[in-house]
Subunit: 339 residues, 2 copies
């Protein structure tokens, strides 16, 4: 069932691609980071305290890096990519703040979630502030077409989160429902980040579409890998925080595939643990055992690899360049996280 | 201490001005309402259910009416005012959804708050959705300058809410702090609603500034009246839900003025009830008794009347018209709510 990502091009195996992307985009990312710090300021002390706690907590800034890289790929630097990259990161962080309240998460990026330090109320409101600041940065570019791409993404992301919430613990959730959730809540922002980057780099319609598809498929692959990793990845090896999605009742692909194949007794075990906030490690282990029986983690990763292959294929029509190779390597790297 | 609003112009006393505004804007507001219903739709059922529950719950739609009226005042209908009006209402409703979660409010517009029916999580996410849809409607106009006005308002509103949260129960909150809170959380959206309306109506720079000032001062007056009404208005007459702000620990002007003049014993009583979610009617009555002793409710309303006078004065430079008179009457009406 395993599908190789390298169906279209022969390349050396990717390694540390995200680090190499960071280094290739370092100059622009320094400007993006300065802008991010500047726009997280406020005369209301709690705003920058909370915002910087989250923003500086060591996220990889993959999304804004993709914006900057997509602009570099097409060569023409209008400067707008810097604003769009910072705006994309603010949109992402606003979503994280709200998601942590919605999911009642205690941890984020290896430390206490902001809501555990400043409370749910401040997290909701500072999220709103970041979203407003994001739109202000976009407006400054004067590029209303890109603004349209990102405002549509903003609405679709929220819609996707509501859909996920509505499907929480719903044993009838289909694979198509899941595909819609991850497209809306994750892939659409990756898509928009790459698309507006390409636009500000001077891409023509075909180049813009190529990068939009690249971002969409990368985002899909990224979320599928995340959802497999939540259960320990391919091998289902149990570690810290394994099973968070299960305890939150999230209907991710490993669960959906397992429910489709499971016996009545197995369905009963899964249903019993799903959405049970205090499910024990033993209960999680039982569920992962069922996943392993039906191979649902590796099937989820196979699906991620297929999206990854589509992401790389989306770049096919573009001329060969170092940046193009690097963008393909980033896809391999993000799928490689799980193996 | 009372200051008459009618310092600048002689007019017949205002009555039912909001109803008359509704009738004067009826054609455009029918289009706004249709657009609102259309853009509250989603393939995710919970989104329109929750959004329409709130949006159709009988708010007066004062803000979008002001946008439409401001455009009519300058005569040139580009059609953009319809989109901006609907966007303003979505921004306002997104704020209400988030505020009710932050304030833990049970009721809104005389019925259960959306969060009591669909939960906090859905209220947060549907608020985000409405904000995204608001920006999409703005983008459709192609008017990036107005988009700048509204995106700045969006960030400032959130900042104002965080500031209010930070000051909750803080006995040292100053009148200047309070002025900043109401400007940011309320007046700035009134200002933006009027300003973008004027812009889409073809106003010149002076006209745009006049309407911006009108909206800002109306918004300030509006919030001051609300904050006096929360304690029963001028007379401090106790009724249903009186004292919600006190129980939530909100540092509104009646409290701030009372704390400045109060004896130690009175300060102790106020401090004891402030932020006490289950403060009894007797405790609220004691606090209102102190307000009455120092006249803080009527002093709050005096301040509202001064802002109202400024709102009306802001229109002075504009040529006489029925709409101008009506906009002045709306100010009188909104201050008149409290007498």
């Amino acid at each position: 069932m395993a599908v190789s990502v390298q169906t279209q091009t022969k390349r050396v195996p990717a390694s540390n691609a995200v680090e190499r992307l960071l280094s290739a985009t370092a100059d622009d990312m320094a400007r993006v980071n300065a802008l991010i710090l500047d726009r997280a300021q406020s005369h209301v002390d709690m705003v920058p305290e909370l915002a910087r706690y989250l923003i500086e907590s060591g996220g990889k800034r993959l999304r804004p890096m993709l914006t900057v890289a997509a602009a570099m790929l097409f060569g023409r630097g209008t400067g707008a990519a810097i604003n769009f990259a910072a705006a994309v990161e603010f949109m992402h962080n606003a979503t994280l703040l709200h998601d942590d309240v919605v999911d009642e998460s205690d941890m984020r990026r290896g430390k206490q979630a902001a809501r555990m330090v400043w409370g749910n109320k401040a997290s909701i409101l500072v999220g709103d502030f970041l979203l407003g600041q994001a739109f202000m940065m976009m407006v400054e570019t004067g590029d209303i077409e890109s603004l349209g791409v990102l405002s549509a993404a903003s609405a679709v992301m929220a819609e996707g989160e509501v859909f996920q919430l509505a499907k929480t613990g719903d044993l009838e959730t289909s694979e198509a429902d899941y595909a819609e959730v991850i497209r809306a809540k994750t892939a659409v922002l990756f898509k928009a980040a790459c698309e507006v980057g390409a636009m500000s780099g001077g891409a023509d319609a075909a180049g813009r579409e190529a990068l939009a598809n690249y971002g969409l498929e990368l985002g899909n692959a990224f979320q599928l890998v995340d959802d497999a990793l939540d259960y320990g990845g391919q091998s289902g090896t149990l570690g810290k925080n394994v099973g968070d999605d299960l305890r939150e009742g999230k209907m991710t692909l490993p669960v959906i595939l397992a429910l489709a194949d499971a016996t009545d007794a197995e369905r009963h075990i899964i249903a019993g643990a799903l959405g049970k906030a205090d499910a024990s490690e033993f209960e999680v282990q039982q569920v992962v055992g069922i996943f392993n029986r039906y191979d649902t983690l590796s099937r989820t990763l196979d699906k991620a690899r297929r999206h990854a292959a589509s992401a790389i294929a989306a770049l096919d029509s573009l001329p060969t360049s170092e940046m193009k190779t690097l963008l393909a390597d980033v896809v391999e790297d993000s799928v490689g996280r799980a193996s």
